[in-house]
Symmetry: C2
Subunit: 237 residues, 2 copies
DNA sequence: ACAAAAGTGTTGACACTACACCCATGG
DNA sequence: CCATGGGTGTAGTGTCAACACTTTTGT
């Protein structure tokens, strides 16, 4: 068996961008580092890839450590590898994009890692090139949510259409017509009426739906077009 | 300055998927390896990342070596890192997606690397997980070309609308209505009439257009919807 | 009874498909 | 003058945004 010329000595890191939704704002799960380097500063949750570990397994390990959750929605977002990005040594970071239901997390694990949910608007400056990563992730969220039904990953199992609407309004920071939104969503056939009603609401109680997971999986790669025009940046191409 | 615990010894490779269009079929630029490992088999063009090299620079270096071209359209496609993917040693490969005008390549460099343009339908089985990479790239091409004007990257500077149509028909392997296609394209405002006519054609000569590059760059991230329905896999979501 | 939020109907603008027709060129 | 292929016009269909109206609930 042949050997490759020379090991490069480049380190391989994994960083996770984790989004949640609290019913009002899109939030990021960030950690205030209680370890070196850059101790005391904010950053994404990350770690190094183990030698005998697949990439997705590594990402899931990191996500599990921080949130106590498995089977999270995760995608590769991209790779960041500029020479000077990590001042300690050459490190290439594979960035993962994760969506979770904000209610489902492990408080203890979060305290241990010194992690907090932070609204996008209030986010502090992060170490290294993590700010760029987050910007790309927000862009990706907007892009993908306009075309694929990933929004559901951020909601609890049962949710109302007005809740879903608030989520989309938060993602795109724009008001949406209630009636058109409702009809559009229902027409997808992805929602199953649970028969339950939302008890929180002070006024008329909204119907609680759940996701038709079979249909969701089958149709995930089909397109839709949810947002009135987030697709377009203002004027026609 | 702190040091990180332990170098992992994982190698970082770069692989390039290069698409071209010969006026009839979408083609891939593949190499028949004249080096170990897997000498004599077909694979993507690739190489290792240099220690002091940015990722995109590495990809461009590899692309330049093979084609003699700079300023190629390149995107990150994803990272492949399964533990056993390379039998020699643990190697993580960052895969790049490139589109070039098939007429603009360096014959000598191609011969030196033992490279050929191969139609998607005729492509041989490739080493390692390169087949998966190519499948993902084709999917990405179909996905992205339906929404963004990347098709132009595959054509010469001056091209006719019928040529462009053949390109899209090749990408989606489906016939398109000539008249609707033409109107849709012209309505984007991306095409500038050069005043020239295609001299090749045996019958009526088609108008040669060029891309309005300023508008192309400005509007690149806007969506469009070119294909009748390649977006959708058959039926509505 | 009234306010606030959820749910349903309707309409006009616009975009897209599916056609028919005309023009230019070479043999 | 005819075959081939490029270019334009138009009618029918459907989708989507923008509206008004009704229903449910708590106070």
């Amino acid at each position: 068996m042949t050997n490759y010329p020379n090991a490069t000595g480049i380190l391989l890191a994994l960083d996770c961008i984790i989004f949640g939704f609290d019913g009002k704002d899109i939030k990021l799960l960030l950690i205030k580092r209680n370890f070196e380097p850059e101790k005391g500063k904010w950053s994404l949750m990350g770690g190094f890839l183990d030698f005998d570990e697949n990439l997705e397994d590594g990402a899931n390990r990191i996500l599990y450590n921080l949130t106590g959750l498995k089977d999270i929605y995760v995608e590769q977002l991209g790779v960041y590898g500029n020479v000077g990005r990590d001042p300690v040594t050459r490190t290439v970071s594979i960035v993962f994009f994760a969506l979770i239901n904000i209610d489902d997390h492990d408080e203890d694990a979060m305290r241990f890692h010194n992690a907090s949910w932070i609204s996008l608007d209030d986010r502090p400056s992060l170490i290294f090139d993590h700010n760029e990563m987050v910007s790309q992730a927000i862009e990706h969220l907007r892009y993908k949510a306009a075309l694929h039904p990933i929004g559901f990953e951020l909601l609890p199992e049962q949710f109302t259409i007005p809740q879903l609407q608030k989520l989309y309004e938060a993602i795109y920071d724009t008001p949406i017509d209630r009636r058109n939104f409702s009809r559009k969503l229902l027409s997808t056939g992805l929602l199953i009426d649970t028969g339950n009603k939302n008890s929180q609401s002070a006024t008329k109680k909204a119907t609680l739906y759940k996701l038709d997971t079979a249909r969701y999986k089958a149709k995930f790669n089909s397109f839709w077009n949810f947002m009135p025009d987030p697709k377009d940046n203002g004027d026609k191409l």
